[in-house]
Symmetry: D2
Subunit: 148 residues, 4 copies
């Protein structure tokens, strides 16, 4: 299986069910836009509830959806009876996160039996453009025998 390939319907359902259990994603208003093998995109429409002090998206919203996108990108490649935990992540905020919507993409660059490494990227979109607002790296661990 290559990164970006289609997944079985059962795997997509497993990811969507897990995402639906993330109270934070619902509270922020995020949705799962794309679920492919090792590649997940989450969207977060702008709301005043997501701002920092200058009225842009707060880096906390940016990092929340980046972390979830990477976590689920890894999870698509994990065995069925396992769960995913974030070991660490690092994010560079490279442009003001200003727009109608944020789009966070997690992409597996090194799958592994225990550890999986993802690139994280976030864009802010407006009707006429898409700005790269954050780029990062994330280390995930696969925990066996705990489904979710």
């Amino acid at each position: 299986m290559n990164i970006g390939d289609d997944l079985s319907p059962a795997t997509v359902i497993r990811i969507r069910d897990s995402f639906a259990r993330q109270g934070l994603m619902r509270h922020l208003g995020a949705d799962l836009a794309e679920v492919k093998a090792g590649l997940v995109t989450i969207r977060l429409p702008f709301r005043p509830e997501l701002t920092q002090q200058h009225g842009y998206f707060h880096a906390g919203g940016t990092s929340s959806i980046a972390d979830s996108a990477g976590g689920y990108a890894g999870f698509t490649l994990f065995p069925e009876d396992s769960s995913v935990l974030t070991v660490e992540f690092k994010l560079n905020l490279i442009n003001p996160a200003q727009g109608d919507c944020l789009e966070a993409q997690g992409r597996v660059i090194k799958p592994g039996r225990t550890l999986t490494i993802c690139h994280l990227d976030v864009w802010a979109t407006t009707p006429d453009r898409r700005i790269h607002v954050a780029t990062g790296l994330q280390t995930l661990i696969c925990v066996r025998g705990k489904s979710a």
Copy 2:
């Protein structure tokens, strides 16, 4: 001025006003627990709206308050007519974020005219203990001539 010293009432008000304008902190239910020179603590009580798929605090909440705590820790040391932006941060999630409340502390370890570096630490508290759940580093930039 040393890290942890008391600040002038005017500086504390400037920080609290800025924090009050962060829509995300209010939406998550976070409050500013401590504001000292180069040292800020933010608390986030548990709610189902903050969870990941296993019912613990989502790393997004942890990183949101860690980022704000570090940003304001730096901001306490900035000149009046300036604003603070996060350049980047990195967080290691070292224990499950499970408890009644999260407490994030940002502490300046290297103040600077342009860049300021903070340590970030987050604990989960229960009535009888306090677990270290995350540790990180953050780089801030001071932007002159824009108050907030």
Copy 3:
């Protein structure tokens, strides 16, 4: 100018002169393989003087050339009377660094007047393959009025 474009001969000479003054690069045996706009590659042939305890390249060699490659990638885009300093970098070591040679590439993903952000990647090469051994992110600062 786009990332990967050819540079003026004067800029290439400025980079090569600066690289030649890095005692560490010479001591490790590294050379500057490619100098393009915002894109620099450094090679480091294997020697027993570069190993860790299992006989592979030590992560210190990997990170030394990754840091220099990123620093010079940024420096190609800086004004003439400026110098470059690394603010921070983060590297994930994703495969054992085993091979005849390491190749580190720094690539600017966000140029800026003050801060510049680079992706760092390192491969280990053997006559018949090229393995991705590290990926990272780096923040650089442009310091005016100090040439080097």
Copy 4:
């Protein structure tokens, strides 16, 4: 056992033997200054072979000894038939690395069966002062059944 406690002579010998096999540490001129439980210090005296273009210590030397100090700090707590690998590290370079000697300290902040997290700090020393030049975080993995 607490961080900073004395280790058995057998463990100290295991660490010193492994360090002695790191060709890079010898080539840079680094030595193991302190080996305690979860706490290791490495020193690197200044030489022109370690410089960057302005004549200070190159960040590559700083990160090489920081990575080794953290790796061995973790290794002191690992079972006998195991080895240590660096998963990732991040370093903020907070002051110019100028002095007679660098001292890198790795300190375990979260030991684990699989993953261990360390704080990394580096100082530059001169006869009359000690400047904090870098601070970082590192994730290590314990690999069973491979001694070294």
